[in-house]
Amino acid sequence: MPKARVLSPWIFHLHAGGCNNCDIELLAALSPRFDVERFGIRLVGSPRHADIIVATGPVPKQVAPFVRRVYEQVPEPKVVVAVGSCAISGGVYNRSDGRPSYAVLGGVDKVIPVDVYVPGCPPKPEAIIHGIVEAIKILAEK
């Protein structure tokens, strides 16, 4: 019998700048087509109710303190999933030599520790579900 936190992981969607494409794919993962509520996963409105933080977007410099604050409001044990290329390394918002542009920090892991990375631009909803299941496996160990 797995632990209760594997059986009822609640998601909080943290939007840190970006073009919103990854957010649309994440909401598609919650829609009837790729229903994740089959596994008890729920989208909650308050970070204090959440287990899994799903972060999208390269972090523009003005959003960085808020991302940090939301991360600290989530109670332990928690996992962070960085969805999309922007959240991993700045994605489209990079110069061609790979350094981030002047307005963004270039990735969520510059501000908060990330456990699972889901590449894609945007990742398919199935890829996001795959990433969230990997995060649930990590959550079970914490």
């Binding site: 009837p32 087509r33 790729f34 229903d35 089959r38 290329s85 991993i88 390394s89 700045g90 994605g91 489209v92 990079n94 110069r95 061609s96 030599d97 790979g98 350094r99 990330v114 456990d115 699972v116 990375y117 889901v118 590449p119 894609g120 631009c121 990742p123 398919k124 199935e126 890829a127 579900i129 795959h130 990433g131 299941v133 990997e134 990590i138």
Partner: protein
């Protein structure tokens, strides 16, 4: 009465779910997923066709592709976390060695090796000074293509000239350009 019709539609949906049951079935659930043909997934290098010309590195939109020359080997590596899956590398590759597959389950956790796609090509050494400067396969391909596309009457002399300068690094070509005399002006 619009509210009653929405309740009626709710009842009609009771037995008609439209859910794609991912990840049921074999894991990873390719059988139950909806993959449109031509989906732009993870890029892959064909090791036989790639010549290491780094055109893809120059063309990459976000700087995910990069290359490193060391130990007589050129390693081209693609960081999946920065890749946009835009397909510009596939478009520009002269040897059609980069292809975007249909794999989309690319999630990886901290410290795992799944984030890089790499390819190595051996570098040729300059026959004069010995420094490695360009991949062997690239030089061979250049020779093939030039000889293919050139006017057949010139093939013989161009081929003899290429034997002299092709496997020399740009510095040595500059140093010996007068004595080798392979410049195209000698034909006009």
């Amino acid at each position: 009465m619009g509210k009653l019709s929405s309740i009626r539609e709710a009842f009609r949906n009771l037995f008609k779910p439209v859910t794609i049951e991912y990840p049921a079935g074999e894991w990873p659930g390719r059988k139950y997923s909806q993959i449109p043909p031509g989906l732009r997934g993870r890029p892959e290098f064909d090791e036989e066709k790639c010549v290491g010309c780094t055109a893809c590195v120059a063309q990459c939109s976000s700087g995910a592709l990069s290359y490193v020359d060391e130990d007589g080997v050129r390693r081209v590596s693609l960081f999946l976390g920065q890749c946009l899956f835009c397909g510009r590398c596939e478009e520009i590759c002269p040897e059609e060695a980069v292809k975007l597959t249909e794999e989309f389950e690319l999630a990886y956790s901290q410290g795992s090796e799944g984030a890089y796609v790499e390819n190595e090509v051996e570098l040729a050494q300059c026959r004069v000074c010995g420094t490695p400067f360009a991949p062997v396969k690239h030089l061979d391909r250049i020779r093939e293509r030039v000889l293919e596309n050139i006017d057949p009457s010139e093939r013989e002399s161009i081929s003899k000239d290429m034997d002299i300068y092709l496997h020399a690094c740009p510095n040595c070509r500059r140093l010996h350009s007068y004595e080798w005399n392979t410049h195209v002006r000698k034909r006009y």
